[in-house]
């Protein structure tokens, strides 16, 4: 799997829609394998065309069940769909229980749907570190729409805004009053706010709170004003399921707004900006820790901080200034 030739073959297969190869490359990217940089370099030109929809909200709000409906609707429109679902990793064992796929089973015989579960692997922000690359790989498979589900997000897991073009925030009755809806963070990033489980008590109050908070938010002329949509994603009788068509219409309307107002350019710019920042940070850290490896310096630095002889800021400045001078040689053309 190491040579450039095998990577070439792999990429060609992915471009033809081969899910096995795409799945394999996603694993390599998740594991930060040596060959992932080369593979991503080759994949990149074939990406950037899909509509990317982010679904976020707290645990148990119904994100996966709504996605199940969305997939069905998009498939009925003849669009191919890729889905990335993120669940948290254990901070203790590093393991994970990925249980989103269980809600997405009605598409298990449809080749037009590719679903991938990801563990967050300690990455903060509601996604996994590799999510950017994984979406690029799914785009390269030729999928028209990519849906990204964050892990159960609270108030500040807002990284999805850097990837998704349309952000859907799912909330449920009883999640707090108007003050909660006015807070910064997650509430602000939504292009569409879905009040799911709208058949539960308190839905009316909740919708009033959401609308009240939107009414005191200022929007510039021509700017997108978040829509509030009521849904019932799960019901014992199919006719009691509500709001799915409205949600699909809302998403399509927002996509149309992005393209007609050219706001899509800004969204795409921010996506690449975030990608660049992440790769820079990772690579820089790798180079620096590689330079320190085996020298015993890292331990010495930590000890000096503990003994009160230094502080982390001075240490980082010192290491950075020495590393950046010799960094070019240390790197020596090798990645990883």
């Amino acid at each position: 799997m190491k040579s450039e030739k095998t990577i070439n073959g792999m990429i060609l297969k992915i471009l033809s829609g081969d899910r096995r190869m795409a799945a394999r490359l996603i694993t390599l990217v998740e594991d930060e394998a040596e060959e992932n940089h080369e593979a991503m370099k080759q994949i990149y030109p074939y990406t950037g065309k899909a509509a990317i929809i982010g679904i976020t909200g707290s645990a148990g709000s119904g994100k996966s069940c709504l996605i199940d409906h969305l997939i069905r609707k998009f498939r009925q429109q003849g669009k191919t769909v890729g889905v990335v679902v993120v669940d948290p990793s254990s901070p203790f064992s590093g393991g994970a229980f990925l249980g989103d796929r269980i809600r997405l089973q009605s598409h298990s015989s449809d080749d037009g749907v590719y679903i991938r579960s990801m563990a967050s692997r300690g990455y903060l922000g509601g996604l996994a570190r590799a999510t950017h690359d994984v979406i690029r790989i799914i785009e390269a498979m030729g999928r028209d729409i990519v849906i990204v589900e964050t892990l159960g997000a609270g108030q500040d897991e807002i990284d999805v805004i850097h990837i998704a073009q349309t952000c859907v925030l799912v909330t449920t009755p009883g999640m707090g009053d108007e003050i909660q809806a006015l807070k910064a963070g997650l509430m602000e990033i939504a292009d569409i706010i879905v009040l799911n489980k709208a058949d539960l008590d308190g839905a009316n109050t909740c919708i009033k709170n959401l609308q009240a908070s939107l009414s005191v938010t200022s929007f510039k002329e021509g700017e997108w004003v978040p829509q509030v949509i009521l849904t019932v994603a799960v019901a014992s009788k199919p006719e009691d399921i509500q709001g799915i068509d409205e949600l699909v219409a809302g998403i399509l309307k927002h996509q149309e707004y992005l393209h007609t107002s050219s706001a899509i350019e800004r969204v795409r710019f921010e996506r690449v900006e975030q990608e660049l920042g992440l790769i820079f940070k990772d690579e820089l850290q790798k180079i620096i820790f590689k330079g320190l490896k085996g020298t015993g310096k890292k331990k010495k630095y930590i000890k000096s901080i503990l003994e009160g002889k230094g502080d982390p800021y001075s240490v980082v400045e010192e290491i950075l200034s020495s590393c950046l001078i010799t960094g070019g040689e240390k790197r020596n053309g090798k990645t990883g």
């Binding site: 996603i26 064992s93 590093g94 393991g95 994970a96 229980f97 796929r101 269980i102 850290q285």
Partner: protein, 135 residues
């Protein structure tokens, strides 16, 4: 920065068997052992299981049997695996079945069988030892 490849394991049940406690218990154990568990739950078809295994690029498929369907579904799962060239994926089974069926299941293509009363350590150790040899 990642040192070791994470082991990914798909845990599932097949057919109309509605007893998922065992599957949930082992899923928890695997999570605690540092593995990433993709939990598919009950009422799966062999086709759906293998499609999920392909999409998720798992190292191991773990099937939990409890209602006497193990000899019916095992060959179907193995056949689907062959069809999709999943020859580098470990197939293990757990649950309750007659002891004399274990060699039959292995003959059909299951790599290892862990019946009721199996200790957790040997299961985890088995996976660690055999996962890399296959891949």
């Amino acid at each position: 920065m990642d040192k070791e490849r994470k082991i990914k394991i798909l845990i599932t049940k097949v057919g109309l068997d509605g007893h998922d406690r065992g599957a949930k218990v082992v899923s928890s154990l695997f999570k605690e052992a540092g593995m990433e568990v993709i939990y598919l739950g009950m009422y799966q078809t062999p086709e759906a299981i293998i499609k999920a295994a392909v999409d998720e690029d798992v190292d191991v498929i773990g099937v939990s049997y409890l209602s006497g369907e193990h000899l019916i579904f095992t060959p179907k799962i193995v056949e689907e695996m062959k069809k999709n060239n999943l020859d580098d994926v470990l197939l293990i089974a757990g649950g309750t079945f007659p002891v004399e069926d274990i060699p039959v299941m292995k003959e059909m293509g299951i790599d290892e069988v862990f019946g009721a009363g199996s200790l957790t350590e040997p299961i985890i150790q088995y996976i660690h030892e055999h996962v890399r040899e296959k891949r």
